[in-house]
Subunit: 259 residues, 2 copies
């Protein structure tokens, strides 16, 4: 893997002036869940290592322990090549604004630089980032929220951005991510799909059985078999499912014959 | 706006066996931030309205106040037409699995039904959803997390899913592009989808009949009913199909009783 490969290790979360230790812990947990590890705190207004932050981190303690504490935002951003600041939608001076998805999408090109280091910057729980702080960021990001209730919890905001970054990382070419086998149902399946011949044998068996139990009258077929075909073809049964269904039909036939 | 337009009001968050009031409050806040309002709690193992939940809800109190509390998951899902259960990746019996983005993407076709009501089901903080609970869901969803630290906070998991649902809602085409009778199958459908209660009655009938024809031994169930549930939930039967299947079961039962 080249040094320039997309790495979540080169993505820093910067929290400015946080006042609740629980939020710092929640951020650490959200970061570790999404595979991020670099946390920087600028002038926190609360304790960073305490029972509340450790409790909310819920096992992501090493992110708290490794967190860098800085006096200024400039210090926290020193070695970064791109800073994206979380912002409410409207500012007096318009600034390039990305959606969380666009932040994720931009990372792949961004990370192609060997020295790339990207910061996502989040403000205070009550007042966010100041204009001066936002104006230290190349881009702003706004999480689309309900306009009538727009203030996200800090850990929730980090969760959404970190999730989009992880999604972009998972989709990036050249990373050694595990991609699901192209299974029709989104997961590796436990039995191969039935083929056309399996299905046609099943439909014959089904029709024969429905006649035997006097549910189906071939002289007055209406749309019965068509509807059942539509149902079972739509679901793309696997071989084990077809075996189970045929087992049920066989048990029914025996009953119908009076065994 | 037609009744069939994509509406976040027809999206229900269902929490099963939650044990921390703070998480319930955090979920309410995440929901309101993303424009969701329908919260159902199944057998909560903690207080729902208390200082801790109200504090974490941080202004989303009316979602807590309106939350429905149920004894069983079936009661919470009764009128829903699609249930998606949050699940860890690997289960003994594979089930159709979506990513959070796919859940969002599927909503706009899903919501084209007048009667569509979608549930996102989340399990206990410690043990998630049981297999029996997951087997009441048509689809599963897995939030891609760091495999070495995969357990998301409950409110964080709801935040990610609610965010994807809001993204899909924001991207949904104008209502003039939504056709009332569009179905999740890409064409105008001829019968409304069966709801959860219809399906559970069918599964009861199916199991009873399989016992009657001596195909199924409840004392040695193996995975029979789980596999049949997976099959029939995967296909999203419409009401007429459920009527046909139950008609077949009734005919079978009569035979089994020797009529």
């Amino acid at each position: 893997m080249p040094a320039s490969a997309f790495s979540l290790d080169r993505l820093r979360i910067v929290l400015v002036g946080t006042s609740h230790p629980g939020n710092i812990g929640g951020v650490a947990r959200a970061m570790k869940n999404m595979g991020l590890s670099d946390l920087a705190l600028v002038a926190p207004r609360c304790e960073v290592h305490c029972s509340e932050s450790i409790s909310r981190a819920s096992g992501a303690d090493e992110i708290l322990a490794k967190a860098q504490v800085h006096d200024t935002l400039d210090a926290a951003l020193g070695d970064t090549t791109l800073a994206v600041g979380a912002s409410a939608r409207s500012r007096t001076l318009p600034w390039p604004m990305l959606t969380p998805r666009q932040v994720g999408d931009s990372l792949s090109t961004e990370m192609a630089h060997d020295a790339a280091r990207v910061a996502l910057v989040f403000g205070r729980e009550d007042t966010g980032l100041t204009n001066a702080e936002l104006q230290r960021c190349h881009r702003h990001v706004h999480i689309p929220t309900n306009p009538e209730f727009s203030s996200l919890n800090l850990a929730a905001a980090v969760q959404v951005l970190a999730y989009e970054c992880r999604q972009a990382w998972l989709a990036a070419p050249g990373t050694e991510n595990v991609h699901e086998d192209d299974a029709p149902f989104g997961v590796e399946w436990d039995s191969p799909l039935a083929d056309h011949a399996d299905l046609e044998r099943f439909f014959e068996h089904l029709e024969r059985t429905l006649v035997a139990i006097e549910f189906h009258d071939p002289d007055n077929p209406r749309q019965l078999m068509a509807r059942l075909r539509r149902l079972y073809l739509r679901v793309r049964p696997d071989r084990m499912e077809i075996n189970i269904l045929r087992g049920i039909l066989t048990a029914m036939e025996k009953r119908a014959r009076g065994h």
